[in-house]
Symmetry: C2
Subunit: 108 residues, 2 copies
């Protein structure tokens, strides 16, 4: 599944924001999301599965708990797709600053 399909859902975007602050148990995620979006724990679990299957999150077992962590590779792809559009809003920079700004060619 393409990252954009995963990111389409606001619940999943919010889960990723939570995971960006550090790993969390499934239940801790479900508690926050359930409160913010008024959905049940199984619904959150299903969203976590989508994140797992699409490579945006990984799980670690800790006793009866499942600890979720963010995996950012698919987000990097999204970032790369946006690259071709940035010229429409990013300020023009001189060439060295531009190279740094784009995070490119740091060692070529």
């Amino acid at each position: 599944m393409h990252a954009f399909e995963v990111l389409r859902d606001p619940v999943r975007r919010r889960i990723l924001e939570l995971l960006a602050d550090g790993e969390r148990a499934s239940g801790a995620v479900a508690e926050v999301i359930g409160r913010e979006f008024a959905i049940t724990q199984p619904a959150v679990s299903q969203h976590l599965k989508v994140l797992r299957d699409s490579g945006l999150a990984s799980v670690r077992v800790d006793g009866a708990r499942r600890i979720y962590a963010l995996d950012t590779s698919p987000l990097q792809e999204v970032d790369a797709w946006l690259e071709r559009f940035r010229r429409f809003w990013e300020p023009r920079l001189d060439s060295l600053a531009a190279e740094i700004a784009r995070g490119k060619r740091r060692d070529t």
Copy 2:
């Protein structure tokens, strides 16, 4: 409609790529997309409507033609959402370069 919902569809992402190269008549878009994705002209027209309604494209009338142009504000929102995740893959830079890289605080 949130930009991420619009970007979810690969046809619409491709249309935005085309428009990034310059404005195009509806028919010209339909020709390329129809060939690449094997869908009909009305289907493309419906996607163009979604892009219009979500503020990602604007139209100009030229006789019987409708000329579409890219509007990037919603893409900037996507870019902004990604910002909080960039620290996971962007190289650490010294503070001045980081400011430039993030395109922030250019005049404060």
